[in-house]
């Protein structure tokens, strides 16, 4: 890795740790006293600049309905148009008050009482109430709404049962059909749950009490997640699926939707009803939907946009010498799954040998080149307070010995091995250098098999593979998002690996209220996955990279690539791109 990139990344990793400590209260009435000006860039230079912020969001959003969103493209728009009970600190991602002015945590970390703002308003002037949240959450949890991220509610008591007991009504019910009756989930003996059994209670118009299933340390962060954002009931009921059009959308976020030209641009203006409107400096936000990375970079270089969120892999060298280039850690990790139900990877020694024969640092520096960080664990870096797992290192000699011990000296007698990946140039380059390393270090010949995305997904989920490429982006900054998928028979396990001890550890972590103890449990679990049993081969941690003009102030890099724009302003003339 280039020294400069390393330095940048280390600085970026350290920054949130420094800023996060004790600047802002985490609960109680102190939250009311937060001095928001601390989050805004100082100086008056911005007053002389036209405050129109144009940036490229990389893709056309699939929806503007927060309950249906699944990706970062949509999430960054949701942060403008809607506001959850909590919001993120723009740099550290620490939960800060949003629609809720303050909150109390009681009942051993199980009961969260959110006190909403008296001056909280929707963009049409209606007050934002606790009932709005209750209704929106019930809507998102109602299966016929079609939310793919409904499981974000499952830490709430009763939410999972409610969801699984109420299957969606068919879109075309046959004549004379009875209304859909739940097929009772197999594990469940209790009576059919109603919404009353879900731990969401409207105490008074401005107070919402949420009871959790287990003390979920990251619940305040979840409360800022797009699936948990409120929607305006009257609007949704009036316009149905089409309520998000520029003409009809009503939100409670800092910005209001003005123009939506699909595949071209979304334009937003400050929401006049937002409780902190006077702090917003931008007069207009223009969000482009340029999905071709080369076009996006050209647009930046020609001066058309102030911020782009990605760099095409082939032009990294060119981009890295540009002064506006930035790179920072991202909450994602790249790994390979082993199918442990098939030979030869049913033997942990073979999995270990294959892992230790890979020089991850070399792949990061020579193939990927953007500053990706070699990984020996699966939990991405940048989770506040969670240490990086020091796992297996590159030891070709030991790897060779392990393979011999497993009965395949110099790879003799080893069944044919095939690595599955989805067709993409960068995956291909990574896989090819791994094949090369296995050949040199272990003496084994490995085949590559590339598939179209959908075929690759199908083969992975049905475990029709031996080794398969994979990536995982964290939904929230907590180790749980990377570790609970390895629990026995979880939908995204896909390796056949199962360990009672591991399942117990994850459950134990869910019940553990103490932060430090919880992280210790997670670390032990991560060690099982990445050092002892190895159902996966961790390769590297993702990075964010892009270009940002120096005139953009109040914008921060963070591990989830989330950027609340209410803090942003422009100081200086539009860039020429030189």
């Amino acid at each position: 890795m280039r020294p400069i990139v390393t330095a940048l990344l280390l600085a970026a990793l350290a920054a949130p740790l420094l800023a996060g400590s004790g600047d802002f209260p985490t609960e109680g009435e102190d939250l009311k006293q937060i001095d928001w000006t601390k989050l805004y860039p100082s100086g008056d230079g911005w007053k002389k600049t036209e405050q129109v912020f144009v940036w490229n969001n990389e893709a056309e959003p699939e929806t503007l309905d927060p309950a249906l969103m699944t990706g970062t493209t949509e999430h960054n728009l949701a942060l403008c148009l809607f506001e959850g009970l909590t919001t993120h600190h723009p740099a550290t991602l620490q939960p800060l008050p949003g629609a809720a002015e303050w909150w109390e945590i009681g009942g051993g970390g199980l009961v969260y009482t959110f006190h909403l703002r008296k001056d909280g308003k929707w963009s049409n002037g209606d007050p934002v109430t606790a009932e709005d949240f209750r209704w929106s959450w019930q809507r998102a949890l109602t299966p016929s709404t079609g939310s793919k991220y409904a499981e974000m509610f499952f830490p709430i008591k009763g939410a999972q049962r409610f969801f699984e007991w109420h299957p969606a009504e068919p879109a075309f019910p046959a004549r004379g059909d009875e209304p859909a009756v739940a097929a009772k989930p197999a594990y469940d003996d209790g009576p059919r749950p109603s919404w009353k059994d879900v731990g969401v209670e409207v105490v008074d118009p401005l107070t919402l009490r949420v009871t959790l299933r287990a003390p979920t340390a990251y619940f305040l962060e979840l409360a800022a997640f797009e699936t948990l954002m409120p929607v305006h009931r009257a609007t949704v009921e009036k316009h149905g699926d089409k309520w998000t059009s520029a003409r009809t959308l009503v939100g409670n976020g800092p910005f209001a939707l003005d123009v939506w030209k699909p595949r071209d641009r979304i334009e937003m203006v400050p929401n006049p009803s937002w409780w902190n409107r006077k702090m917003i400096r931008l007069a207009r936000v223009v969000v482009r939907a340029i999905d071709d990375q080369n076009t996006s970079l050209s647009e930046y270089l020609s001066g058309g946009v102030d911020w782009i969120r990605s760099i095409p892999a082939r032009r990294i060298d060119e981009a890295q010498v540009h002064p506006d280039y930035y790179v920072s850690p991202y909450l994602g990790s790249y790994f390979f799954r082993f199918n442990i139900t098939r030979k030869p990877f049913d033997d942990v020694r073979v999995r270990k040998a294959f892992t230790m024969a890979i020089d991850k640092k070399d792949i990061c520096e020579r193939v990927l080149k953007a500053g990706q960080i070699p990984a020996s664990g699966v939990v991405a870096l940048g989770i506040h307070g969670y240490p990086e797992l020091k796992g297996l290192t590159y030891e070709p000699v030991k790897a060779r010995a392990l393979l011999a011990e497993a009965g395949f000296p110099e790879g003799k007698g080893l069944p044919e091995v095939e690595v599955l990946y989805n067709t993409q140039e960068s995956h291909k380059a990574v896989c090819e250098s791994m094949v090369d390393m296995w050949k040199t270090n272990l003496g084994v010949k490995v085949q590559l098999k590339n598939c179209e995305w959908q075929v690759y997904l199908k083969d992975t989920h049905e475990m029709q593979y031996q080794v398969a490429r994979a990536g995982w982006i964290g939904d929230y900054a907590d180790p749980n998002t990377f570790l609970d998928m390895w629990v026995t028979d979880r939908g995204n396990n896909n390796t056949g690996w199962s360990s009672k001890k591991y399942d117990a550890l994850i459950e134990q972590a869910a019940m553990e209220p103490d932060h430090a103890k919880r992280f210790a449990i997670f670390q032990e679990a991560e060690r099982m996955v990445c050092v002892e049993d190895l159902p996966i081969l961790p390769l590297y941690y993702y990075v964010n990279q892009g270009m940002l003009r120096p005139r953009v102030k109040g914008w921060f890099e963070n591990v989830r690539d989330l950027h609340p724009l209410q803090y942003v302003c422009l100081d200086g003339p539009p860039g020429s791109g030189k």
Binding site: G146, A171, K242, S302, G304, L457, N492
Partner: protein
Amino acid sequence: MGRYVLRRLVWMPLVLLILVTVSFILIRIAPGGPFSSERQASPEVIANLNAKYGLDAHPVVQYGRYIGGLVQGDLGPSFKFKDRDVNQILATGIGPTAVLGGLATILALAIGLTAGTIGAVRQNSVFDYASMSVATFGMSVPNFVTGPLLVLAFSLTWKWLPVTGFSTDFSWLPFLAIVGLFAAWRVAEWVKLGPGRIRMGREIGAAWLAALLLATTAALTLLVKNPSLILPSVTLALPFASRIARLMRAGMLEVVNQDYVRTARAKGLAETTVVLRHALKGGILPVVSYLGPAVAGVLTGSLVVEKIFNIPGIGREFVEAALSRDYFLVLGVVVLDGALLVGFNLIVDVAYGFLDPRIRFD
């Protein structure tokens, strides 16, 4: 003629039905589905989504429902873009695609017909060699090369033109000016000739000229008012113009050596009259038969050009929808493209009848 067109129109829905049926089967037997992702949703969620969109029924029932909706003009929902249905997606996408395709067609015709005609009339001249070299280049270099090269030169190096952006600001002024000038010219001519000598044939010729001028004016106005359209339409027009120029040149060369042209020359007509009035009509035939599918092609959008310049058209929808198994969006684009192609082929066949007196429809 009327019966021929009618018969073709009756066949059209049947052709489209076969097209839709084959596409429906193909997209449905492709592995995967609209709701699969790297982060796999739970079986409950998938079941809910299938029920919500009616994908839980037997495929034959689904096919029946789809055709039922299609007949009523309902192209169904999009699984990817949940806030808009396929009708809306195609409606917003067809505009930009049509504007760009129309611009490219006009540019290609203006450049291609002129270059091809001059090339044929002045065969083996410097102009002929030069224009045919450019045309060979234009035909053989794919637009994923020309597009970025144009961007590099005009947007990044000289900073004259924007890379992306789509707008359709328009001014009627040049348009009205042309119409006014043209009317003044005709009136002056009529006054000069006197009432008895106005001939219909001449007026139709003049009307054609007016139409060509107006189309070119409209295109140029649009390009001047919206500089962001210049690079994409030039990129799209280049191979198109090259092909037209070559076809036109070949067609003209064949015609200028025929007897009826020699007769026209022998009558002592001016060379321009011979070329424009006699030879052009025959020489343009190969271009016309090429234009049908070609115009349908540019009007259904180009994946590459729309990507390079981020044009919000429908060219990208088809490929992206197919990759993400957005069943109804794929089918919607197929229906639209199919209808355009069938429609333009019909127009070409009818135009043939006007241009070539030997062709009769029975």
